[in-house]
């Protein structure tokens, strides 16, 4: 009933095209995350769905209804803002009940619904306070309370956790996840934080410059990024990119080699590749073995930096060519800076990309 479809959605301010034709299907009850760097248009897209921005082109359907020209209140959406947007002169109770107040609900109805929302969000003790007496996390709770009290078909979250400190952000992230399971409503969540995207989403939409880069389940995107941008954006530390030459093609395998890299055959599914062309080899730091020689792909270099985090160790290795490679080990290991290390990888976990004009200058 609250399936959301975006068809060729566009947004322009004069000659500036911010959203350049976006197609997304969001199923009923799905948790969909829009993720991308700042300026990619993800917030604009959310505000278009909310009705806060006009739609310049395309179709937006919520349920079976085309809502392009409906005002926000008729779209059945609730929104949680980054700045909370709770009304400073009202108590928490009045804030949470605001949507009911303006729609003329009875006093009993308001009290019952506010009490239920407060119970779900565990903020019964805050109801008579004013926003100025609340911490950031509590304010965000109030904003969410105001959203859930009307039982909307769709929840929209615009970077709701960005103003919170790291520890609180993790708590609230988990709570939002639980809330989704509890309410089962369709939720769209905008963030630039890939951890929030990976942990919360049923479906991630990666956006860049007003265009969809890839849509899929978090692990899909992680293991099968469709292009260099998605590959580099998801995962921390970022994927290593190595410029290589295609030396031979054998069925769907492509043989590549590069400076400091032996010949390896990797999947050519992002083809077509031609012999002699330049391509980008992507290696996740977590899939690089250090001094264990198990993989067929081999790299070599000196340790430039070692970060010990307890559960894992991140090392930066400078190759003979001078280009760095990051490797992550899932245990605590001591490396001396300047010591020689051999890196190896399984070609099945390597990704070969077409060179991308905008990206080659950053690729190593």
């Amino acid at each position: 009933m609250a399936r959301i479809t975006l068809k060729g959605l566009k947004k322009s301010y004069g000659n500036a095209h911010v959203i350049k034709g976006v197609d997304i299907d969001i199923e009923d009850g799905e948790f969909c995350v829009f993720v991308g760097p700042s300026g990619c248009g993800k917030s604009t897209l959310l505000r278009m769905i909310a009705g806060l921005e006009d739609i310049s082109g395309g179709d937006l359907n919520i349920g079976d209804l085309r809502v392009n020209d409906l005002p926000p209140k008729d779209r059945g959406v609730a929104m949680v803002f980054q700045s909370y947007a709770i009304f400073p002169h009202m108590t928490v109770r009045e804030n949470v009940a605001f949507g009911l107040t303006v729609s003329g609900a009875s006093k009993q109805e308001k009290e019952a619904k506010v009490a239920e929302a407060a119970r779900i969000l565990q903020m019964e003790h805050l109801l008579d306070r004013r926003p100025s007496q609340l911490s950031g996390g509590q304010r965000q709770r109030v904003a969410i309370g105001r959203a859930i009290v009307r039982k909307p078909r769709v929840f929209l979250f615009d970077e709701p956790l960005s103003n919170l400190d790291a520890a609180l952000r993790m708590d609230m992230r988990m709570e939002i996840g639980k809330l989704h399971q509890q309410l089962g409503a369709t939720m769209i969540y905008v963030t630039h934080d890939q951890v929030e995207a990976m942990t919360l989403a049923d479906k991630i939409v990666v956006l860049k410059d007003g265009l969809v880069q890839q849509i899929g389940a978090p692990m899909d995107l992680y293991h099968n990024p469709s292009n260099l941008f998605v590959a580099g954006f998801l995962g921390a530390p970022s994927m290593n990119f190595i410029t290589v030459q295609v030396t031979a093609i054998d069925g769907d395998k492509v043989l590549v080699s590069g400076p400091g890299l032996n010949d390896v055959a990797v999947s050519g599914k992002r083809g077509p590749f031609t012999v002699g062309q330049t391509a980008i080899l992507g290696l996740r730091p977590q899939y690089l073995g250090v001094n264990d020689d198990t993989g067929l792909g081999k790299l070599h270099g000196k340790v430039a930096l070692s970060e010990r985090l307890g559960a894992e160790t991140v090392i930066e290795v400078t190759q003979a060519s001078g280009l760095p490679v990051i490797a992550t080990l899932s245990r605590d290991v001591v490396f001396d800076v300047g010591s020689d290390v051999n890196l190896s990888f399984d070609p099945d976990h390597a990704h070969l990309f077409q060179p991308d004009e905008s990206f080659t200058k950053n690729a190593h």
Binding site: A50, G51, L52, P71, P72, K73, V77, A78, M79, F81, S83, A85, I86, F87, P88, H89, M90, F98, G99, T101, V102, S103, R130, S132, R146, R150
Partner: protein, 359 residues
């Protein structure tokens, strides 16, 4: 470590000196002078030495009394009629050297009313003109403060939109504020002219000649209203700008949140805009009130307090007394009274509009 600037007081005082000196000379000294002189019989130019007269100036200004008179009756208790109406004893016989009514001595009638039967109640004042000035000033304040504040808020809501050319409107509404009030008053004296004034011409034109020209500033019933209308028009732009600044401190996200929650335009104003403007409202109200109590220029240019004292105001009286009649002590006493009046009104307003959160 203390900075050199907070340590070397001499340089600091030296730099603040000129401004500080001028403020002392032209604000502080006259302020205390007014207090001191109001207890004397000082005149602007007088060969007699100044004498301390205590509260006599205030007694003269504030003296009011009431007197109820019954109609003249004959011995049988029958009301005597004169020209078909009951006859009353002369008011003068009570207020002029009547040993039975010493507290009414020297007073004159301010107004009279008829409460029960044929008894007439007179409200008397020792200084009728001053009391009229006080009443007029209060009337002015009571009408101008809500009217000007409300109109300014209305204009603000109109110009706080993203429309092409909205700055033209902002400029137009603000223009009268930039023009000197004296110039504005002269222009409006021409507009209000009884014979060929713009207002009369427009009203005559609009009513196809049915409207009879009114001498707006020359009638006791319209003079104060005319000055109120013109004063509201002149300063409304200033308060519009104050409202506008208050309006722009309200976060736009609050409006977005309200529109998503389904609030109507009126509900947005009631729940978001107005509460967000509370502090601005207090400021606007107090500023308008204080300005309105100081009403002088318009009166001085347009009516000089007339006709028949119908546009007398406190400040006009203070100046008129002090310089026109050279009665510096009387003018000072009026100034002091005005100061106390404005102070107490402001304090009351602040108390009534105190923020709820501050409790």
């Amino acid at each position: 470590m203390a900075s050199k600037f907070t340590v070397s007081h001499r340089a600091g005082w030296l730099m603040a000196g000129p401004a500080f000196g001028l403020m002392v000379m032209f604000i502080l000294v006259p302020f205390f002078f007014a207090f001191a002189l109001s207890f004397t019989n000082q005149r602007l130019i007088s060969p007699n030495p100044t004498e301390f007269v205590g509260l006599s100036n205030y007694r003269q200004l504030l003296g009011v009394g009431m007197l109820t008179l019954e109609p003249v009756k004959d011995d049988a208790g029958i009301v005597q009629l004169k020209d078909g109406a009951p006859e009353y004893p002369a008011l003068r016989s009570f207020t002029r050297k009547n040993p039975d009514y010493p507290h009414l001595d020297g007073m004159r009638e301010l107004f009279s009313f008829n409460l029960s039967g044929d008894k007439i109640t007179y409200v008397l004042a020792r200084d009728v003109v001053f009391i009229k000035a006080v009443l007029n000033t209060f009337l002015f304040v009571l009408i101008v403060a809500p009217l000007q504040g409300g109109l300014a808020l209305g204009l603000t809501l109109l110009i706080n939109q993203k429309l092409r050319g909205i700055n033209v409107f902002r400029t137009i509404y603000f223009m009268p504020v930039v023009v000197s009030i004296v110039v504005v008053s002269i222009l409006w004296r021409i507009i209000y002219d009884g014979n060929n004034g713009l207002l009369n011409n427009i009203l005559t034109g609009l009513s196809f000649g049915a409207f009879q020209p009114v001498n707006w500033l020359g009638e006791t019933s319209t003079a104060m209203g005319a000055i109120i209308a013109m004063s509201v028009w002149q300063a409304v732009g200033f308060h519009m700008v104050i409202w506008l600044s208050g309006l722009q401190t309200i976060s736009p996200t609050l409006y977005e949140a309200a529109s998503i929650e389904g609030a109507s335009k009126w509900q947005v104003f009631r729940y978001i805009t107005w509460p967000g403007l509370k502090n601005t409202a207090v400021l606007v109200l107090i500023v308008i009130t204080m300005q309105a109590f100081g009403l002088f220029d318009q009166i001085n240019v347009m009516t000089k307090g007339g006709p028949l004292d119908s546009t007398q105001t406190i400040v006009f009286q203070a100046i008129e007394r002090g310089y026109g009649k050279q009665d510096i002590s009387g003018g000072s006493a009026i100034s002091v009274l005005l100061f106390l009046l404005v102070l107490s009104v402001s304090l009351i307003q602040r108390y009534l509009t105190r923020s709820v959160e501050a409790k």
